[in-house]
Assembly symmetry: C2
Homo-oligomer: 537 residues x 2
């Protein structure tokens, strides 16, 4: 079986996505992660199009990649301009990468109506541009833009554009379903045909071996299917992005493609060890992109192996393969059991066990617990997404909870004058180990001021924990939009220290009340862990 | 071409999704929407499993559906129990629906290891249960659970379970890829085989016509592909959920399947008029489920036809078909042009024109504008998602902005004592039409208090606008997680009145400052529109 080359365009096509923006430094960090996990080609950007991309290639020239080949992306020369005088091509060469990806027009409609060009000149542009960049010592992958639509509308011309790229010496022909509207049956027919066309052209004209690549978009929810279909038909260069980021409905999602190819189609792409780092890569890129991780993303999503219905959970505990199409650990994921209002007793028992809390057989009314969970969830508490708060709540219910501190009162004040920034301060009064602590602090906003005042009050007793933990994300969601500012809000806080990440939740009509709940739970959770560790040592 | 029957299980399988919960009344409303748009089967729930589902079927018995057949879902009888004495089956019948969907075990692993049953008794359970429910006058669709895995592991037994359902008189055999791990090539082989098996069995044993159905899950990111592949192989009952909601990675997404079948595969499912209401259905269900609409969802997502890169936009304005695989209006969607830092002059010009603002040819430095947009976006302003704020910003830049009011100062106080709820109040001083207004208000939290005080201050001058507009959603996102509460936050506010929905944004390290920006913009936007309307009349 021929090897598959993974080609990542997160840093270029991925950035066309609506909310995606990377600084040049972030791009370098992501590129190094991609190289580290074993991606074969990393398309870094479009030199000359954007100051950030130029900065990226400049920084990248000082990075020693382990195995990955960095790729500069750009267009063919402009009509009527000699290759060596063309700004596009020179920018591509100047980026000084091992490989260059060059896109050209395949569809006569684009050539004539959009670009106001002639069919013949377009072919010359393709052939000469590929030839020129090859002559500068680069590997050249030719991206046949809008290939499938071009082929469907004027097959002969589409084939001519491929021939032009081959004549220029392209190392790879990448067929792009740029509009994302093709079906797997069309992919099968067209890729099969073009593969034969390329073989015939090479037999006739000579030239070095050429790989076939595929680049799909998800406008019809078929990007992954189209990609693997193309691989079945002989494509060996697979283009996509991490988490499927990209314009409109996104590019083909590499975090789906890689496991499907490797685990279901016997087309290995990464080492097993690196495959198990896939989820980590997915999270890393989503954080760098400041995008909420999509929890139901196949393979790597938080919920990809999250079992909800009571029936499934008892069955899974008996026999995982009966309910899971693969083992989560292979991609670095894990099985989760959701506590929810479809939960049977087995869900809650499983969850408690996971948290190290004994509930079976010591007089606990598990049915009553389940019923209470359902009530809380009805009010908006999403324990699925806030296991820190769930643990506290469960311990309270079981009479096993010992708070690290008790709130006596707090006061938060926010002032604003005309155009000046808001000014926030908080005072807080706590009871810790029987002692009263009364502290004051300023902060970036009310939650920040509370966080600082709380930290100040607790630092005397838990200096290390307070120094190391920090709030890294908070989300506020209005529960029922129809009620405006009177609606209940839920606040999620994600906190982390050197070892752990934990999430807590608060629910109230008042955002500060909800934030306080989540914040207090976050500290109670962490400080209680510290006390447990002390007790055990 | 045989017609395709659309079978929606949003209200049953969809509710297995991590964050999805519907009340019985919400389920009824969704069911009526589904019926209205032309869905053929509506699987409403599992009677007897959950009080909400029982309530649903009770309410549903009083609804007159136009065309849709309501379906009650449940399991085969229990081992060793007579059908007429079985609680499951009796609950199914008692739901009094035209149709019943019954799931049974296909995979010998499940029968023997998970259910501790015998292979023979399982077949009897299937046959007798189908027979019994048929005898009660119901249409019966038999859901062959884990069919593809069962077939791959023990084909003969899997076929026997189908034969048992046929012998019981099933009207439809639905093949379920319950674990979501199958590939399109496997679907092709297996569905083709089973179709032939069914035809052969009927030829031999007689019986009424039987339809073939397909029910896929998205664990491999192939649910839609697998579904349409099955249709190509003869399946005519297509199961899925709106927005692909469902357990783990979700069910097959009907909002993708329907346009693919109807617009690309010549398998009409809905009238053209109803197809154009698909986006509306998608939004309705996401709001009912309290789920953020997924903006990059194929066909119906806000970004499905959102073009970002400068190049694409100028091309699209010339020739839409060159860049879009279909016309957005066919599914009730629309084209969007994003203002972003990849924006060329054409994006900003397009956007301004859309907002009715003239910028070309009156001395405006469009290039400088574009450069400023990029700067703002770098700081976190996401104008793509906050067009209300963009309009204000653009007008300010062009010297065309006249604020409806000016902030002089505000003060917000939040108090909490022990376990009591937080108490928030705000005072605000504004300048409106040269007059000073100084008001105070309480509220559900600081933003609510500010909103109330602001409303109070403005009501004297804009009574109708203040009465009709309300804040319906706000989102807070930390921009750089590495800085904890010192990080910049962006606050999005969505406001609406009877006619319009608009979104505004604020960015600051301080959540109240950011909320104030978004809130003030929201009022400025609406009140300025009111003044413009007055000026024109």
């Amino acid at each position: 079986m021929e090897p598959v080359w993974l080609y990542d365009t997160t840093l270029r096509d991925g950035t066309q996505g609506e909310d995606i923006n990377f600084t040049a430094e972030e791009k370098i960090r992501i590129a190094m992660r991609l190289d580290d996990i074993g991606i074969h080609y990393i398309e870094g950007g479009w030199p000359g199009s954007n100051p950030r991309d130029d900065a990226f290639f400049d920084l990248a020239s000082r990075v020693k990649f382990k195995k990955a080949r960095l790729v500069a992306f750009g267009s063919t020369r402009r009509a009527g301009v000699r290759p060596s005088a063309d700004a596009n091509l020179n920018a591509l060469v100047k980026a000084n990468t091992p490989a260059v990806a060059m896109f050209g027009k395949t569809w006569d409609l684009h050539v004539e109506q959009v670009m106001d060009n002639t069919l013949a000149e377009n072919l010359a542009m393709i052939r000469e541009s590929v030839e020129y960049v090859k002559s500068q010592g680069r590997e050249v992958l030719y991206d046949a833009e809008h290939f499938f639509d071009g082929y469907k509308n004027n097959r002969e011309y589409a084939e001519k554009t491929i021939a032009a790229a081959l004549d220029g010496g392209a190392d790879s022909i990448v067929l792009c379903d740029t509009n994302g509207g093709s079906l797997p049956t069309e992919i099968t027919a067209i890729v099969t045909d073009i593969r034969a066309f390329i073989q015939k052209h090479r037999k006739k004209n000579g030239g070095q071996p050429v790989t076939l690549g595929i680049h799909t978009h998800n406008d019809s929810n078929l990007a992954v299917a189209n990609t693997i279909t193309a691989v079945d038909c002989g494509a060996t260069v697979v283009q996509g992005t991490v988490n499927g980021y990209g314009e409109r409905c996104g590019n083909a999602d590499l975090t789906s493609i890689i496991p499907v190819l490797q685990l279901k189609m016997n087309r290995p792409c990464l080492t097993d060890e690196n495959l198990a780092r896939l989820r980590e890569l997915s999270r890393y890129v989503s954080e760098a992109a400041n995008m909420t991780p999509v929890s139901n993303r196949p393979f790597v999503g938080e919920s990809a192996f999250a079992h909800k219905g009571g029936i499934h959970v008892s069955a899974i505990m008996k026999c995982p393969v009966a309910y899971e199409h693969m083992s989560p650990e292979l991609v670095g994921n894990r099985r989760r059991v959701l506590v929810s209002d479809l939960a049977g007793k087995s869900n809650v028992a499983y969850k408690a066990k996971e948290l190290g809390i004994e509930i079976e057989g010591n007089g606990t009314d598990t049915a009553a617990l389940v019923s209470e969970v359902k009530k809380m969830e009805n009010q908006g508490y999403q324990f699925d997404a806030a296991e820190g708060s769930f643990e506290i709540w469960l311990k309270k219910k079981l009479g096993q909870y010992e708070p690290a501190f008790e709130l006596l009162s707090f006061l938060v004040t926010i002032r604003k004058e005309k155009d000046r920034q808001c000014y926030a301060e908080a005072t807080i009064k706590l009871l810790v180990d029987g002692q009263e602590r009364f502290t004051a602090a300023e902060g970036d906003g009310p939650v920040g001021a509370l966080d600082n005042a709380l930290r100040r009050a607790l630092h005397k007793f838990y200096p290390e924990e307070c120094d190391n933990m920090r709030l890294v994300d908070f989300k506020v969601r209005v529960i029922d939009g129809r009620e405006g500012t009177a609606a209940r809000v839920k606040v999620f806080i994600e906190s982390r220290d050197k070892k752990e990440i934990w999430r807590t939740i608060g629910v109230s009509e008042d955002i500060i009340e909800a934030s306080w709940q989540a914040l207090a739970d976050s500290f109670q959770y962490r400080l209680n862990k510290a006390r447990e560790e002390q007790n055990h040592s």
